[in-house]
Amino acid sequence: MRQSLTGTFSLKVSNLSKDFGTVQVLRDISFDFTDDVSVAITGPSGSGKSTLLHIIGTLEKPSNGQVRINNTDPFALSEPELARYRNSVIGFVFQDHHLLPQYSVLENVLVPTLAFKQEPDATERAHELLDRVGLTDRIWHRPAELSGGERQRVAIARALINQPDILLCDEPTGNLDTATTETIANLLFELHQAEKNILIVVTHNLTLALRFQEHLQLVEGRCSIEGNSES
């Protein structure tokens, strides 16, 4: 099993709250995940799912409470340190894939490696990831030439290029049909198994949520965690 710098992967959220002005989005959220757990976050629209994901992904700061990833408080880091931390520890997959239209599939996958000094084997790994997501024959195509499912597969490969400890997916199948949703979900689980990282997925799809080891439900900013016996 792949290990973090501290030995194992851990994500600990304690008493986390987030408000935007007078609107309180998250209230007193706490949980603790370790090792290669997969977590689904569900909840109605406006319940704070994406906000929670962004705070875990260090894109937003919590109003109160603490987030510790591998026993490190990322928000205590300086801006450059946080950027490097995010680049190496966290991977993102967005609902709107956010692929860069001017780049080819391979280049999109390689984009995160450009943030800092590129590893010599980055391109090799990108090819390997694209092979694993089934896009070997499309590496020089541009996003506009791909289907929605293919685009999302590219986004997944891009998220994994730096071998992150935590993979965060914000409704990755939100814009996809049922069959494609199934394919993408299978791919995510498959890669999760292979990469052995913490996988956190925000989804409205309850059937999909049941396939995760942990199920975190958010209602009006508060959360409850259930373990999924099926997974």
């Binding site: 950027a83 967005f94 860069l100």
Partner: protein, 1157 residues
């Protein structure tokens, strides 16, 4: 579209609309502003003309003095116009090229002045008054009450360059001592000048009678002015023989027509002989000359009058027949045969030499024809010219040779024959003076055979055919002669004095008219007297009256030195300007307008892209595409219209700024700060219409692309009408031949077009278009499998919106192209010339500065003369005219013409001026290429037409030189000059070669000694620099347009950057999410725009260089330093603007964009 909708649209999308309107305003402002600058130059020149001439409409000028009543007009105002120098002895100052005006108070009525300055002598003043203008006052640093010495040319009947003309420096100039009575401002009458130039004239006004008296020309003037609008016609002139300088000596049986100028001008003699033939009046023409000696048998008779007359028929032939015996005739025949025999070997030797020369020339021409193609164009031309010149020289030699074959015949009177002890058939030599090329006296010898000896009676004693020799005729003794030429009084014997006492100027010898005219040929005339006797069936009185009437009718005033000038109309015509500033600024504004059109297109497209959902919805609910397009077009039209109106205000401001610039920073371009704003509504309207049309075409093209995006894509917020990212196949291979074809056509058209500006524009725009298209295609093709790096990352980002990136590249390219194309002509290095000085004198010099004798005559001391011997001074004759260089803003109509002396004609291309063209009235001339093309607006390939002194057309076949010191004149050979402008005398323009160490001293000596002539020296390098300063100033003004292009280009870059960041917020946020630091993102965006800046600059520089090459045929000596600095400045400015734009655009948080909720 209703106004309400537009208002709402404008309010909601006000930022983008405002930017479009401002860009249109800039386009209108630049174009209309350029046209207004042109209006202002023309308007200001027109105002100057009106101020310079007041209400004077027409003028009658003459190269001689005449009675004012010659012109039959009531309102005429008489004046004497002279050129002179003025010295202020108290202040030790001097002013040259001063307009000396002899006027009456009525002259001031041409201007609306309340009070006319007083020209009369003030009470108690010993000297007469002079009124000067402020410009002259400033030059002399003189005050009212100061005494001035006014040097003016002395008036003489006989031309100073004729043997009998007065050339002595002390006689040629006279000085008047006058007191400054008043100073007039340098406006109105103070600005009066016949010279069409924007610079302030130096004017001095003297009471007409005072000047007339000083010149010895009482009641005579040389100029008449009128305020009547009807032109003065030659019919209004009542010509008299006196006005023409002619006189008739009436006798019982005949009358003699003679001239006060000694020689009858060819035009007079030809007219007189024609009238005589027509009226059957018998004529007898003579040419009288003064021989220095008549010698034979070792004996000499000094200073004798010789008359050349018809010896074969007529009065003299009959008289000779009566006095020559058969023995004499036999003796003469024997002597003639012997002489022919004696000359034979010499003649045949000369024949041989000439034949050899002709062969050599023929061979050279044949060789040239065969091998010419191997020579360079210049070398071929040079050798062809050399052959032509050699051929002309041989022709002249042949002519002279033919004349020498036969011995000349001479007839002596008995007194002379007895004194020499000669008989018929003896050889007689005569010596006489001839005026050389440098106006020196040359003693020539001619040999004759004595044909007869005549008693001093009848025609041989007739003094009536001898015109008056000035300084000689009325003296009691020969020793009292005061001739202009040197006389050796030691040669005069008692018997000579006795002859003088008894017979006066009675001729001692007679030769044939043909021989006389060949020996004493000069440009002023071939006859001194025409004797006419009674016509059949009339008496002498009636014959004379008939002759005089018909003769005066035959003479056209224009042929005898009268000029009829429409001063006001010509001045206003000239004020259209030599340089069309409007056109020049407008041409270069074309670049800016294209840049603006591209920017507007891009902006409008961004505006439309912002509203893609709106367009999608309208299409979804059934709006026809045509209607939607029309709606955007109307919207664009209204915005552009508003922009154009704002542009009108900008135009006036821009023109005002340019005028301010021309009055201050760029003053060398116009010389004098005389400009004021003149805005024509037509210029504004043209600016508005052209810029509006260009902008509307750009908007129309953008709107047309609306239909190319699917409705679904539009509804989804798709912004790319032509999504460059949808294809990954490179197009460059297919584009190659097409681009090559377009380039070939564009550059071909550019090169074929004659006008260099059009050629420059054509080639520059083609190269920019080709460069931009290639760049665009390259951007779109950037999908090859290359290793991704940050640099490539930036390059690919630029390819995200290839249209926008290309627009920025074009805009920057255009700016750089202007700066390079215009800046390449800037002359940074100081001009180099082999000449140390250029000198001009107000009054002509008649003696050579290159010979000790000439310098002595001009008053140089021995030391000064020795100093000057180290210099070479090349003199030029000057026909007064207008400055045709870029220093004159008016459109010159009558260029100043120089006559280049032989010294100048020894080198290529000057040698060509020696060529004599077979066509009469056509001569070779040299002019500066730039002056001809840009100031005279004349294609050097065509002949340039001027008028000779006799009012006839003279065609100048032009040869051009570049960047020469002769940018203000056209140059012909001296021999042609004296042929077509014979009455112009002396030299007034000089080129001086002096060793560097002696320059200062030489200049001082020349200016000091020749101060009475108004001899002014200017450093030749400084003169060249003044021309260059004008060019450089033009270049600076045009580069300011390039600066505006840089501003627009940078603005475009910043705009693209902003827009891209707004559109790519999601992408950028994603990159942030993947650990890209803000600094790294900034650096990448900065790099992306710098890449566009560099590409734009590269294309622009390449286009600029190609355009220069196409328009000039070669790259000028490049001002690398200034151009590099300018380009670095542009690069720096672009970089700073980019950095600021990136910093501002990335200030707002990006990561919030990623929230999907």
């Amino acid at each position: 579209m209703c106004l309400r909708q537009f208002k709402k649209s404008f309010r909601y999308f006000w930022q983008i609309h405002l930017t479009v309107a401002l860009c249109t305003a800039v386009a209108t402002g630049v174009l209309a502003g350029a046209l207004i600058v042109g209006d202002s130059v023309r308007g200001s020149l027109r105002s100057l003309t009106t101020e310079r001439l007041g209400t004077i409409q027409h003028a009658l000028l003459a190269d001689h003095f005449f009675q004012p009543n010659l012109l039959n007009r009531q309102d005429k105002v008489s004046a004497i116009l002279l050129n002179g120098t003025i010295v202020a002895p108290q202040k030790q100052t001097r002013a040259s090229k001063v307009n000396i005006l002899g006027i009456t108070e009525s002259f001031f009525t041409f201007w609306d002045a309340d009070t006319a300055p007083n020209l009369n002598k003030a009470a108690g003043q010993p000297f007469n008054a002079i009124v000067i203008n402020e410009a002259l006052q400033s030059e002399l640093n003189a005050q009212v009450g100061d005494t001035l010495l006014v040097n003016i040319p002395q008036v003489a009947d006989i031309h100073p360059e004729f043997i009998l003309g007065e050339r002595d420096a002390s006689e040629a100039i006279q000085s008047l001592r006058l007191v400054i009575g008043d100073v007039v401002p340098a406006e109105n009458v103070g600005r009066f000048s016949l010279r069409v130039h924007q610079s302030l004239p130096l004017n001095a006004f003297i009471a007409l009678p005072v000047l007339q008296k000083a010149l010895g020309q009482e009641n005579k003037v040389n100029a008449l002015f009128t305020k009547q609008t009807a032109p003065i016609s030659s019919d209004e002139l009542v010509l008299t023989l006196e006005a023409l300088g002619l006189n008739i000596q009436e006798h019982e049986t005949h009358f003699d027509l003679q001239s006060q100028e000694y020689l009858l001008k060819p035009i007079f003699s030809e007219a007189a002989l024609t009238v005589a033939v027509r009226n059957q009046i018998p004529t007898f023409s003579t040419l009288t000359y003064l021989a220095n000696t008549i010698s034979a048998n070792g004996k000499t008779v000094p200073y004798s009058t010789i008359v050349a007359l018809p010896t074969d028929q007529g009065t003299f032939a009959e008289y000779l027949d009566r006095h020559v015996t058969e023995t004499d005739m036999w003796a003469y025949g024997q002597a003639y045969d012997q002489e022919i025999k004696r000359r034979e070997p010499e003649i045949s030797e000369e024949n041989k030499k000439l034949d050899e020369k002709i062969d050599r020339i023929t061979k050279e021409v044949n060789t040239l024809a065969e091998t010419g193609s191997k020579l360079s164009k210049t070398e071929y031309k040079q050798r062809l010219d050399e052959a032509d010149i050699a051929s002309t020289e041989v022709q002249n030699a042949l002519k002279a040779h033919r004349a020498r074959r036969k011995p000349g015949e001479i007839v002596l009177n008995t007194w002379t024959a007895a004194d020499l002890g000669v008989k018929v058939g003896d050889g007689i030599n005569i010596t006489y003076y001839r005026v050389g090329a440098s106006e020196e006296y040359i003693i020539e010898t001619a040999s004759f055979l004595l044909k007869g000896i005549l008693p001093i009676e009848g025609i041989a004693a007739d003094r009536g055919i001898i015109p008056t020799f000035p300084g000689i005729h009325n003296t009691a003794d020969m020793s009292e002669w005061e001739s202009p030429f040197p006389i050796d009084y030691a040669l005069i014997r008692d018997k000579d004095e006795a002859y003088w006492d008894e017979y006066g100027a009675t001729p001692k010898a007679f030769i044939s008219l043909e021989t006389g005219q060949r020996l004493w040929q000069n440009r002023f005339g071939t006859l001194t007297s025409i004797r006419m006797t009674t016509a059949p069936d009339t008496d002498i009185r009636e014959t004379l009256t008939r002759f005089e009437t018909e003769f005066l009718k035959k003479i056209q005033p224009e042929e005898v030195g009268f000029q009829f000038l429409s001063l006001q109309a010509d001045g206003l015509q000239a004020s259209t300007g030599a340089t069309d500033f409007g056109m020049l600024f407008g041409s270069l504004s074309a670049f800016i307008i294209i840049a603006v059109a591209l920017l507007v297109g891009m902006l409008f497209r961004i505006g439309v892209e912002q509203r893609s959902r709106e367009i999608g919805i309208l299409q979804a609910i059934g709006y026809p595409l045509v209607k939607i397009r029309r709606r955007f077009l109307y919207e664009g039209g209204i915005i552009a219209g508003i922009g154009s109106l704002i542009g009108c205000l900008l135009a006036v401001g821009y023109a005002q700024l340019m005028i301010f610039g021309l009055q201050t920073w760029w003053l060398p371009a116009i010389g004098t700060p005389f400009m004021e704003l003149h805005a024509s509504p037509w210029s504004l309207l043209s600016g508005v219409l052209i810029s509006l049309a260009v902008v509307m075409i750009s908007i129309r093209v953008t709107v047309h692309k609306l239909g190319k995006t699917s409705v679904v894509s539009l509804l989804a917020g798709g912004t790319d009408f032509v999504d460059a990212t949808t294809t990954s196949k490179p197009k460059t291979r297919k584009a190659g031949p097409f681009l090559f074809f377009v380039a070939l056509v564009g550059i071909g058209v550019g090169i074929l077009v004659g006008n260099p500006i059009v050629r420059l524009l054509c080639v520059a725009l083609t190269i920019i278009a080709i460069g931009a298209e290639a760049f665009d295609r390259w951007l779109k093709s950037q999908n090859a499998s290359k290793r991704l790096s940050r640099m490539r990352f930036a390059v690919k980002n630029a390819g995200r919106q290839p249209g926008r990136s290309t627009t920025c590249v074009i805009t920057v390219g255009i700016a750089c192209c202007i700066i390079v194309a215009v800046g390449a002509n800037r002359h940074d290095a100081p001009p180099e010339t082999e000449y140390a000085f250029v000198a001009e004198s107000s009054l002509p010099l008649h003696h050579s500065l290159n010979t000790p004798d000439g310098r002595f005559e001009l008053g140089f001391s021995e030391n000064a003369s020795e100093l000057l011997s180290a210099s070479e001074i090349i003199p030029f004759r000057v026909l007064p005219g207008e400055d045709v260089s870029c220093l004159n803003l008016y459109q010159p109509q009558k260029p100043q013409i120089l006559g280049a002396s032989d010294t100048m004609l020894d080198e290529f291309p000057w040698r060509k001026l020696k060529l004599k063209l077979s066509e009469i009235g056509r001569v070779l001339a040299i002019g500066d290429e730039k002056s001809l093309r840009w100031i005279l607006h004349h294609d050097p390939k065509d002949d340039f037409l001027v008028q000779d002194e006799f009012g006839k057309a003279l065609r100048l076949e032009l040869e051009t030189v570049e960047n020469s010191i002769f940018q203000s004149q056209l140059i012909i050979s001296e021999s042609n000059f004296t042929k077509y402008f014979p009455s112009q005398s002396g030299y007034q323009f000089f080129l001086i070669k002096t060793p560097p160490a002696l320059r200062e001293e030489t200049a001082q000596i020349l200016e000091k000694t020749l101060s009475d002539y108004g001899f002014d020296l200017t450093s030749a390098a400084a003169r060249l620099a003044s021309y260059r300063a004008v060019e450089n100033t033009y270049i600076s003004t045009f580069q300011s347009l390039g600066g505006l292009g840089v501003l627009l280009g940078t603005f475009g870059l910043a705009l693209v950057l902003f827009r891209n960041i707004i559109e790519r917020r999601g992408e950028l946020a994603t990159l942030r999410a993947f650990g890209f630091q803000r600094r790294l993102l900034s650096r990448m965006l900065f790099l992306e725009n710098c890449f566009l800046l560099v590409i734009g600059m590269f294309i622009g520089i390449a286009a600029g260089l190609a355009a220069i090459l196409a328009s000039q045929g070669h790259l000028p000596s490049f001002p690398w330093f200034s151009l590099t600095i300018t380009l670095l400045f542009i690069f720096g400015f672009g970089i700073i603007a980019n950095a600021v734009a990136v910093a501002v655009a990335l200030r707002s948080p990006l990561l919030s964009t990623l929230k999907s909720e």
